[in-house]
Symmetry: C3
Subunit: 323 residues, 3 copies
């Protein structure tokens, strides 16, 4: 393969952190589909196509009237199921006046939306991240818009040796790039895992600042040790842009707000370093796509396995194959 | 039809308000044709193709020398008929050295230019707006550049029910959207008219502020009543941009400059609300053109009739049919 | 011909003034090829393809470690010849891990790079500008990025009658446009020369300010007279952008820094006038390329000859013909 992977259309994608959704209209595009999200009076999240049936005006530019959206251009009104319930200056509502509603699951403080045939949407397929909503954990969250194809972010996160170079001042150390990567692929579920186990490693600057430790606990197996779970969800917006959702969960000093602020600042800076590098790479790829050639090495094993898995999903789903 | 109408090339278009044209060069593009306008010493307006014959440099970037334009790059000089009268470093002027002059009519304080075959230009075809230049009327004028196709502005102005939603804070009221629209099409002239007659209606906020009245006069037929004539001229600049010329004429308090300022502020704000909405819609249409679908309802009768009329003109004129 | 010339790929181009290159990474694109330049410890300039072999990250965003570049994304390391000397987390370096090095000559305080087949690069083909590095001359230098095709700058510089109109306030006078141009083409070397000889001419404003003279010396042949040598090098960056390198050399008042500052200010302003005009013309050409038509006159003789020469070079080199 010579270019980062494309993502499959038929899939669950993270559309938002739970805290982003309330009794107000949020526009977000997922896999080129413009969607409007809001929370109804009973606390459920609804996701509708963000285009009025009349003249395609974005519903997210309208207003909420109770649980209904009133279009901001001519006042067409929709209930949370997407049915049009009012048209100005006429009584009869055309039967075809409705906008699609997207399958949606809110779980682990994440809002997941299904793109593609709603019949295929199975909530059991959604991966879990229990730390993000469990007692005993403190979580810092954010999202960075990325003006680059999502595959570049996947490549980035599947090979953390870049921490040593791109993030040297925050989370990098020479030991990261020097430690071999363990890659496993579960052929049944298609899950690709990459890992590095570093015993008794020195803490990079940002982790030292956010734990107070010169190094983590000796071998990482002490149940009484400190744990950081860092979660990323990659969601394509268009073919050339993405949303980079991130969360940092910890099981220590959970009531320390000052620490939370430090973590947020460090993580935001690290994510921005990735965004800057990947937007530059997107420019390179856009300009050179025809002659783009890569040389892959050992540390790319995991990233290439993930690309292959996405390619399988993309082809299989597009042909209408069973999941 | 599934997209807003395109405009015919062979037509009179408003290129400027009279007050915009003086003894200086004004560049304006109409229907993708770059034109330079200026007023000569005898008070007439001339309109020439805005490209030097030599290396296509815009003449509007040059200077006026008497009634002639001197190109700002190499000094080629043109008289008001578009004939080249001087070339640097040579005596003989090539016979082909001339730029097209556009048919032009200045009427009702508007400058109309004819795009297309000059032989077909008939000033009698130009619609009138006598209030804009008549004694007993005060007029406030403006122009908003619109980064959207002109057809979206036509749709917008042919269905004023949007006033209730998009302009609620200025000129909208629930009564506007509730009052049925009267649409007439003159098959002879092709003129499409839409109207709403509201007896004894409550004044929307902007009209209350600019008339001092809680509501207009009871039935709108009192010759001694107050009258507002609001004029729009829609001129395509390119296929994806337009000029939105507007004027508000009144036959009351004509010497009240403070009122004129209030009207200008309110109308500028209303026009900007349209511009913002239509530029957003242009983005929607550009992104989704292939799959763009509309659902039309009763209130679209006038707008659809206008689209049909433009489609007839566009096809007829392109085939060279008689007008 | 109806459009400015394209430039041949196989050619020497000025990539930088010598003073721009030091022990730091400079990115510059020449003829659509991204290149990174730096000066090694022994004072030589090296020019490598600015794309890591791994994931195409620009090497110019990395760091210099001694004479080697360390990629800023994953740490791939390259020596000044372009050979990869280190890959993170593995000992063996793939044999194909190297980036192209460009033929390069530093001469007359200019850095020349050869684009195309390195076998064809002959330093003897490079034109000389001895004033830029010779004793007894003071030189002021600069470079303006130009968002327009390089051919427009060639047209501009081959016909200095534009000085009278575009640069009237700096270096223009009526005499320039009125004086006939002498054009010679050396069919052997392909060199095109245009010249104007003006005896006892009045000094335009900028030259008056930078020489203190109301006019140059009577006939321009006095060896004891004052001389200005103004050098331009036109280097395409992409098909729609270029670098405009310039230098003004003088053999009088060579130690007068105040005069150097005045010359720099005037020349920078003149170059910016060209840049503004040519970027506008680029817009015109981009919009109207299909119907673009020119009318050429006597003063275009030299520019048209230069266009023809470039067209010959472009065709000949593309076919692999001998130079």
């Amino acid at each position: 393969m010579s270019l980062p992977a494309e993502f499959p259309r038929e899939s669950w994608y993270v559309a938002a952190h739970s805290e982003e959704i309330g009794p107000h209209l949020l526009a977000r595009t997922v896999m080129d589909e413009p969607i409007v999200f809001y929370r109804t009076a009973n606390g459920e999240v609804t996701a509708l196509a963000d285009r009025c049936v009349h003249r395609r005006y974005p519903l997210s530019k309208g207003t909420l009237s109770g649980d209904s959206i009133v279009c901001g251009y001519h006042g067409f009104t929709y209930d949370p199921a997407g049915r049009c319930t009012a048209v100005p200056a006429q009584q009869r509502i055309p039967r075809t006046a409705r906008v699609p509603r997207y399958p949606l699951v809110e779980q682990d403080m994440l809002v997941w939306v299904w793109i593609g045939d709603p019949e295929r949407a199975d909530p059991a397929d959604i991966p879990r991240a229990p730390w993000l909503g469990a007692p005993g954990w403190a979580v810092v969250r954010g999202m960075a818009p990325l003006a680059a194809r999502a595959g570049l972010l996947l490549d980035n996160l599947m090979d953390l040796s870049h921490e040593t170079y791109l993030h040297a001042d925050y989370i990098g150390s020479a030991e990261v790039a020097e430690t071999p990567i363990l890659t496993t692929v579960d052929e049944g579920t298609g899950v690709v895992r990459v890992g590095r186990h570093m015993d008794d490693a020195e803490c990079p600057p940002a982790y030292r600042a956010t734990t107070g430790l010169p190094s983590p606990e000796p071998d990482g197996t002490d149940p009484a040790g400190f744990h950081n779970e860092i979660v990323y969800a990659i969601t394509p917006e268009t073919r050339r842009s993405a949303h980079d959702f991130w969360a940092v969960a910890r099981d220590f000093a959970v009531d320390n707000d000052e620490l939370s602020r430090k973590i947020a600042a460090a993580q935001t800076a690290v994510v921005q370093q990735d965004v800057d590098a990947l937007e530059l790479l997107e420019q390179v790829i856009s300009d050179e796509a025809a002659g783009y050639r890569e040389l892959s090495v050992n540390l790319d094993t995991g990233g290439l396995a993930a690309r292959r898995r996405l390619a399988q999903l993309t082809v299989g789903r597009e042909r209408g194959a069973p999941r």
